[in-house]
């Protein structure tokens, strides 16, 4: 699939294209969310969809997250395939009752008689001061719930393919985007295609350590791995892609080859999905581990707003590279490493030309 077009588009455009193609291919698909048809179009991910498909397929929403989630569940069990859009993952917290009690359990509690084909799109914020309530990374919350599928693609290619797969899936899927991935360009074929919702991807092969990363942390992990390769340290980077289910066979197979496991998450450390990955490896492949596993995650306090407070909050490629080298007991000239991974953009924006706000 990947070589049929040499077309690079941003992840926001890839997501918009997936939504348009889902609306095109299946008349049961509807898209609904606060601000979906507004001029900003949820960071461009829903731009123009209502003009293209009309107001009976693409809806704005009252500010009623829990009610609208229940309404979409009701539509989903009645023959529709709703896609809900939240501008921030934090807003989905208002809908946890419907997500956890109904979406995740409706099929189960009626012994498989009814499916809930529902996609809930949420976005993890970061940068330009979104602060404690607009930049949480709650994949572990959702991942804890049996009955949900939870994915967080990193590449634009995967974002399009996994969104189409999620919309075609007969189960509730939480589709987690990261705000810092929206602007990154990727090779994205135009025809519709799907990417499985339960497979990790090995982004870079290596023999010295397995670095499992989630969402945006894959970007930093690949930078760290590239820098470390200059010093003969060979890191295997795995994009986890899905949170529930975790693709443990792929991860365990890698750890059996490398003997070292590092997990880089976009979320807090305590109770996070990184710990779940490590626990699963320890249970089934303890003998393969040559040293203790490591979690690279956020400090256990909410992100502050001020750029002066936030500069040390998010672990980046340099942080990853330093920790992995030290953990492997490998000497790396630190000043040189820091120069290689020097980030010229301010800590609170994804790219140089960003002028804020999100």
């Amino acid at each position: 699939m990947r070589d049929d077009k040499k077309r690079h588009i941003t992840q926001a455009d890839a997501i918009r294209e997936a939504l348009a193609q889902a609306l095109q291919e299946d008349e049961r698909v509807i898209v609904v969310g606060e601000g979906v048809p507004d001029p900003k179009g949820v960071f461009g991910t829903t731009a123009g969809l209502q003009q293209q498909f009309g107001p009976s397929r693409v809806f704005d929403s009252p500010l009623s997250e829990n009610g609208m989630t229940g309404i979409c569940i009701g539509a989903a069990i009645s023959g529709m395939r709703p896609v809900m859009v939240h501008q921030r993952i934090d807003f989905a917290l208002l809908a946890m009752d419907q997500i956890v009690n109904n979406a995740a359990k409706w099929r189960y509690m009626f012994a498989g008689q009814v499916n809930v084909p529902l996609v809930i799109m949420v976005i993890v914020g970061r940068g330009w001061g979104p602060g404690p309530q607009h930049a949480q990374s709650l994949q572990a919350f959702f991942g804890h719930i049996p009955g949900l599928k939870v994915v967080m693609p990193t590449s634009g290619y995967d974002a399009k393919g996994m969104l189409l797969a999620a919309i075609r899936d007969d189960n509730p899927v939480i589709f987690i985007q990261h705000r810092w991935l929206h602007g990154i360009e990727d090779l994205v074929p135009e025809p519709p295609y799907t990417v499985p919702l339960d497979r990790a991807a090995i982004c870079r092969s290596g023999k010295d350590a397995t670095l499992v990363a989630f969402s945006y942390m894959v970007v930093e992990a690949l930078l760290a791995a590239e820098a470390l390769s200059q010093y003969g340290i060979d890191i295997e980077v795995i994009d986890a892609r899905s949170v529930r289910p975790l693709d443990m066979p792929t991860i365990i197979e890698s750890v059996r080859r490398t003997g070292t496991l590092v997990v880089a998450d976009t979320a807090w450390k305590t109770g996070g999905i990184a710990g779940e990955v490590i626990a699963a490896v320890a249970e089934t492949a303890f003998d393969a581990l040559r040293r203790p596993p490591v979690r690279i995650a956020l400090p256990d306090y909410p992100v502050p707003t001020s750029p002066y407070l936030v500069k040390d909050y998010y672990p980046d490629a340099l942080y990853l590279a330093r920790h992995i080298a030290a953990h492997l007991g490998r000497e790396v000239p630190d000043a040189e490493l820091a120069e290689r991974l020097f980030r010229s953009t301010p800590c609170d924006v994804p790219q140089k030309d960003f002028r804020g706000p999100f």
Partner: protein, 316 residues
């Protein structure tokens, strides 16, 4: 409305729940049960105004709604007994009734949880061009949940074919409505939110049917959501088979006053005044007793469910 049929339906709900209560002490029904005894007229009157293809959602106190909509009695009792031949194969129990073939689309015990689902089902019916009405039953306590008001707002905005049925029985568990809501009519709030509203004596099946028929006719002609508030009363404890007036949470004499307007007895009295009324009631009693005996046997002889099947219910 066929009055004899409505009476028979109410009597059936009453006798089924009395049988559940009588046998509950045997320790074989190992799940909570919330009995509708005293409230049968609302379920029967509303469902008499619906067609088979119309949908109904309910809540933890669902037996009456399920049976009135045509839900299978055997599958209901087998579910309460936790058997494989129950309507949810033992996963749900009394608080999770479902019978899709009968248009009983589901009941769950998170208060207010099915109200948006019903609105969503009505939304789907409208989007799909189906001539279908959805009704959802809930209590006065549920009207305090935010999700109900979010749901009503959306239903009014999109003029959906949804019938909200509030069974105002004055109590949420043991908390009286005066301690939970200001002194204003519930239906008045729904009217302000854009519903066509109706009230009925919830212990008078004919009255409930009459307003339901009018409400449903409006839904079918695209007039937007309707809201019926029915005054009624729960005779027994919130959860379980017993009377609980000894707890003293209700004013003295209140239960007796409501028992004196028993919906089943009022309908029976009406029938008795007719030429064949007494014989008709006797025949209904006999038929129902036989059906109940059969259904309990079906449930008690039902195979035990297998926990190995559980993971298969989780994902499609």
């Amino acid at each position: 409305m066929n009055f004899e049929k409505a009476f028979g339906s109410m009597l059936r709900v009453r006798r089924v729940e009395e049988a559940i209560a009588d046998r509950y002490a045997e320790q074989q029904m190992r799940c909570p049960v919330h009995l509708s005894i005293g409230q049968e007229a609302v379920a029967v009157g509303v469902c008499a105004a619906l067609r088979k293809e119309d949908g109904v959602f309910s809540n933890h106190r669902a037996h009456a709604h399920y049976l009135a909509k045509g839900g299978d009695l055997k599958a209901m009792l087998a579910e309460i007994y936790g058997r494989e031949n129950g309507c949810c194969r033992g996963v749900g129990g009394s608080m999770h009734m479902v019978d899709l073939a009968a248009g009983f689309l589901g009941a769950v015990p998170i208060v207010g949880a099915t109200v948006p689902l019903a609105v969503g089902a009505a939304w789907a019916a409208k989007l799909r061009g189906e001539n279908r009405v959805i009704a959802v039953f809930f209590g006065d306590g549920t009207f305090e949940e935010g999700v109900v008001h979010e749901s009503i707002n959306f239903a009014a905005l999109h003029r959906l074919p949804i019938l909200f049925v509030c069974e105002n029985n004055l109590y949420a568990c043991y908390s009286r409505i005066d301690d939970r809501q200001p002194d204003r009519p519930i239906h008045g709030v729904a009217a302000a939110q854009g519903c066509r509203t109706f009230t009925a004596d919830g212990n008078d099946v004919q009255a409930v049917f009459d307003v339901s028929r009018e409400a449903v006719a409006g839904l079918r002609s695209g007039q937007g959501p309707a809201f019926i508030e029915c005054a009624t009363y729960r005779w027994r404890e919130h959860c379980g088979p017993n009377l609980d007036d000894n707890l003293g949470y209700r004013p003295q004499g209140e239960l007796a006053r409501w028992e004196s307007v028993c919906p089943v007895e009022r309908a029976a009295a009406f029938l008795r005044a007719m030429p064949d009324g007494a014989a008709l009631i006797e025949s209904a009693e006999k038929q129902i007793a036989a059906e109940i005996a059969d259904a309990f046997a079906f449930a008690l002889e039902g195979p035990l469910p297998n926990s190995a099947d559980l993971p298969g219910y989780l994902y499609a």
